[in-house]
């Protein structure tokens, strides 16, 4: 299936430093892709490039269909009423579902005549999301959509996004640095590290393709020689390895499927240039 979002050799440079470098990835239609990585990894830069706020310095980015964006901090015009924000959306976009937008806000109990600046943080997030969804985009890009929201508002926002994915053929790219926020909602994972894409693929496939091995530290090197180790840690006599594939093991080793946060952390701890035999840079499972 043709991906909705595709980047090839994408690079973005600020002055002399590359915020994003040689980044190639694709998000298939209908997926909810999690974009994770430490601060400064290039998450926001990648998103800004995808929505056209930034021009690539190298390579290219392709979005098939209309893209809607909710920036970090969900910017809105504070002095506008909610109804005026809807007018803004209607006048700025030829494709606009006013009825759905009013319906959504009505169900959320957000009064149309209230000034945006006087809404709660959760309500502002919902208004920003409503503006984006009313455009009926093919791709919805959300930069840290859950940051600064209380647990209830986080749940409400994710519910709204998920319902939209279920109802329309919407593809979502959302960033977060809290991996646990993403476990039940995302089905595609992109790990950015130091401006490069480290992982990109289906989450279930990725989790199936990795194992967490625990066993005697003395045998770790032998195992490492036979498989691709993503990350290794250990305390004293016991070693824990996160590896790709499933090696034939000495019975002294136990192995299990990793959790999403374990997998993400393992990759973030060992960027491609680490001493351990790292993964291929183009990612895994793709």
């Amino acid at each position: 299936m043709t991906p909705v979002l595709e980047t090839t050799g994408l690079g973005v440079r600020y002055g002399r430093t590359w915020a994003l470098r040689d980044c190639s990835l694709a998000v298939p239609r209908g997926r909810v892709a999690a974009l994770v990585g430490p601060n400064g990894a290039g998450k926001t830069t990648l998103m800004h490039t995808a929505v056209g706020l930034l021009k690539p310095s190298a390579g290219q980015v392709t979005v098939r269909g209309e893209v809607a964006f909710v920036a970090q901090d969900k910017p809105l015009y504070d002095g506008f009423t909610v109804a005026e924000m809807l007018t803004f959306g209607r006048r700025m976009n030829p494709r606009w579902d006013e009825e759905a937008a009013r319906d959504r806000l009505g169900r959320l109990g957000i009064p149309l005549e209230r000034r945006v600046g006087r809404l709660s943080g959760g309500q502002q997030a919902q208004v920003a999301l409503t503006l984006a969804l009313a455009r009926r985009p093919a791709l919805l890009v959300l930069d840290e959509p859950l940051a600064n929201l209380d647990p209830l508002a986080r749940h409400d926002v994710m519910r709204a996004v998920m319902a939209e994915v279920a109802a329309h053929e919407l593809t979502v790219l959302l960033s977060s640095h809290v991996v646990s926020d993403l476990t039940d909602t995302c089905d595609w994972l992109i790990v950015l590290n130091g401006g490069r894409a480290q992982v990109s693929g289906d989450i279930e496939d990725l989790l199936d393709g990795h194992r967490v091995l625990t066993g005697p530290a003395g045998l770790a090197e032998g195992v490492a020689a036979r498989t691709r180790v993503v990350a290794a840690s250990g305390s004293g006599r016991q070693a824990t390895l996160l590896v790709r594939d499933r090696p034939v093991l000495d019975p002294r080793w136990s192995d299990r499927r990793p959790g999403l946060d374990e997998l993400v952390l393992a990759y973030l701890r060992s960027p491609g240039s680490a001493a351990l035999p790292g993964p291929a840079r183009q990612g895994v499972g793709a």
Binding site: G30, R31, V32, H155, M158, R159, M162, A163, V165, A166, A167, T183, D184, T185, C186, D187
Partner: protein, 130 residues
Amino acid sequence: MIEFHLDRGSGVSTYLQLVHQVRHALRLGALRPGDQLPTAREVVESLAINPNTVLKAYRELEREGLVEGRPGQGTFVRRTLGGATLAEHTRLRRGLEQWVRQARGAGLDQDDLNALFTAVTTDLAKEDIA
């Protein structure tokens, strides 16, 4: 209609939790053939989970022959779970009641009863596997 819930700390993957809950409801008779399962959108709106997870759970149930998707209508229960017919249920229950009375008469309390029952079912299960 079944209402799903999630136990996020259980370590069981979300789609399996949904599958288990449907199976459980079928066993208890809370879901019967012809009943409709909630649409992916309804599940997603209440649980804030990825719709593909719901679809994956429904596909699994379909594969097991428990439910069927009717295009444009939704997903419906095809058959019930539980190995025995209602008549057998009643007969077995009577037998169990008799056994419990005998055990009480022999001086076993509730905990003893439970422990004995669990031990027997576990041992028999092991025998089956072997």
